[in-house]
């Protein structure tokens, strides 16, 4: 039996999926196909961690309730378990980085074929002009038709703190942008995640039988903990206000969200104004402040989660710092740390440095190893992106959150024989029998076994 039934006052639920980039080389130094390298990581995870296999052959569910898999384009991907606190998401995403780094080291050590492996937390490939992302999922109770209007101005303006930073392809000299991935988004709304991506992704699956999942694909993989915390927390709180019809769109409705996104992504000083309904022009900072003012008004309300007031304070601090320009947020935001370096380099070389050299350096920022630039700065304690209470990522690899169905999933992963069961987000099933362990309630911390009418996987 479920130990906790659904309660609207406990309605915040979210998670993060991070697609990594990987390159492998043989012992002789020849390049190896990325998909083959990702599959080597997956197979090593099988030997290293308790797991159940997913319905898809290239997916594992782990004892922390999260999932590790090989996604489209051969990218290794880690998905956090379902969380109710944004600091938990940060901690689990950090655990995902740790997992990937450990797997990469082990594969290089033990593989007969792979001698070197490079791992990046990056979002664009300047050579092949491709992108991959960091997706967010949120439980919500809003009419899906109504949601884009309320959420798009937030997704567009939050790149002030959620942007990874990098260069805009096709510009010479290369122009710095807060969010290189944002330039792959060409329409306000779309259902595609691979082509013609829309700022608002309309993939809206039912979640747990009483809510829906909002799938955000505009985000970028970040090193900054505070940026990930704000990204998840601010979006979740805005959704709570929309659900209760407490969010006013006054001065928020963008006339052209795509143009606004690209204007904001081009402006590290947040001075660009974009047209909103009612004839007003607003900067990204003003739009964010408008959202924050409304959220903060209800931060202590009964329907808000306990972490809302703290999140609002951090959000306010961030917006105040952003008013001071990129230098004030260098060290706590990904894009700004990149910006202080590249602006100086470009000015020193009078913009004569070849694009390839800049792109290569940009890639080095995202490398998850000793010679990665963020990695190095972090080790020297020069960054101030961390959050109090977010620690022990190694524990987060083994232990699920205590207040969502991830707890039930994680416990079953530890207990069940991987040869006899397979797992999905909403259930665990016998491979040969007909019983299913129901996990459909996202807030139930234990599930229940039920007879299933569908054919077992092996017979089907």
């Amino acid at each position: 039996m479920s130990t906790k039934s659904f309660d609207r006052s406990h309605a915040c639920l979210f998670g993060l999926e991070t697609e990594y980039a990987v390159n492998g080389y043989s012992k002789k130094g020849d390049s190896i196909d990325s998909e083959e390298v990702s599959l080597a990581l997956l197979e090593h995870a099988v030997t290293l961690l308790p797991h159940l296999r997913g319905l898809e052959s290239r997916r594992l569910f782990l004892s922390n309730g999260g999932s590790f898999y090989v996604d489209i384009g051969g990218h290794p991907e880690f998905c956090t378990p379902e969380c109710t606190d944004p600091k938990e998401v940060v901690r689990y995403a950090w655990a995902g980085d740790l997992l990937l780094i450990t797997l990469a080291e082990d594969v290089c050590r033990y593989s007969r074929k792979i001698g070197q492996l490079r791992l990046y937390k990056h979002n664009v490939d300047y050579a092949s002009k491709t992108t991959w992302g960091c997706h967010e999922s949120y439980l919500h109770f809003v009419d899906p038709e109504k949601l884009p209007r309320y959420i798009i101005p937030h997704l567009v303006s939050r790149i002030l703190y959620t942007g990874a930073g990098g260069f805009l392809l096709g510009t010479y000299p290369p122009k710095f942008t807060l969010s290189p991935r944002s330039w792959f988004f060409k329409s306000p709304v779309s259902d595609s995640t691979t082509n013609h991506r829309g700022i608002f992704n309309t993939r809206s699956e039912p979640l747990g039988g009483f809510g829906r999942r909002m799938h955000v694909i505009l985000g970028e993989s970040l090193h900054s903990h505070v940026a990930t915390y704000l990204k998840i927390g601010s979006t979740a709180l805005i959704l709570l206000l929309v659900e209760r019809e407490l969010l006013s769109l006054e001065s928020l409705d963008l006339l052209d969200p795509v143009v606004a996104l690209h204007a904001f992504a081009s402006d590290p000083f947040s001075k660009s104004k974009v047209p909103c309904s009612g004839g007003k022009f607003q900067t990204a900072l003003e739009i964010q402040a408008r959202y924050l003012d409304q959220v903060q008004r209800y931060a202590e309300a009964d329907f808000m989660p306990r972490w809302a007031p703290e999140l609002c304070r951090t959000w306010r601090n961030m917006l105040e710092l952003l008013k001071e320009g990129p230098e004030a947020v260098a060290g706590c935001l990904d894009w700004a740390t990149r910006y202080v370096f590249f602006s100086k380099l470009q000015s020193k070389t009078r913009n004569s440095i070849r694009p390839e050299r800049l792109f290569s350096l940009d890639l080095k920022f995202s490398k998850l190893s000793e010679d990665g630039i963020f990695f190095h700065l972090d080790r020297r304690c020069l960054l101030n992106h961390r959050l109090k209470g977010v620690n022990h990522p190694e524990d987060a690899l083994k232990t699920p959150p205590s207040d969502t169905r991830a707890k039930a999933r994680g416990e079953m992963v530890k207990k069940l024989d991987e040869c006899r069961y397979y797992c999905d987000w909403e259930y665990i099933a016998e491979a040969k029998g007909r019983r299913r362990y129901n996990l459909s309630d996202p807030f139930a911390t234990s599930g229940e076994w039920r007879e299933n009418r569908a054919l077992p996987r092996e017979l089907a």
Binding site: I72, E356, S360, D378
Partner: protein, 67 residues
């Protein structure tokens, strides 16, 4: 896996109780000094690759499109 973790414990937090400098010039000065320190360290540690090295690095690191 614990003994192999490379993540040292940090003492610097964004959301520490100390003032971030939003309302005090001294705090802002401290933040700017930190930005300048980052710049200096980057200048020291980051070696700008030659055009050939950069091109090879970019070609080597090519990725398929993801989601």
């Amino acid at each position: 896996m614990e003994e192999r973790t490379r993540f040292a414990r940090r003492e610097v937090y964004f959301d520490s109780e100390q003032d971030l400098g939003v309302s005090h010039n001294a705090g802002l000065e401290q933040i700017r000094a930190q930005a300048s320190e980052i710049e200096q360290v980057l200048e020291k540690i980051v070696k700008v690759p030659t055009e050939e090295q950069a091109r090879k690095e970019l070609l080597d690191s090519q990725q398929e499109s993801g989601q």
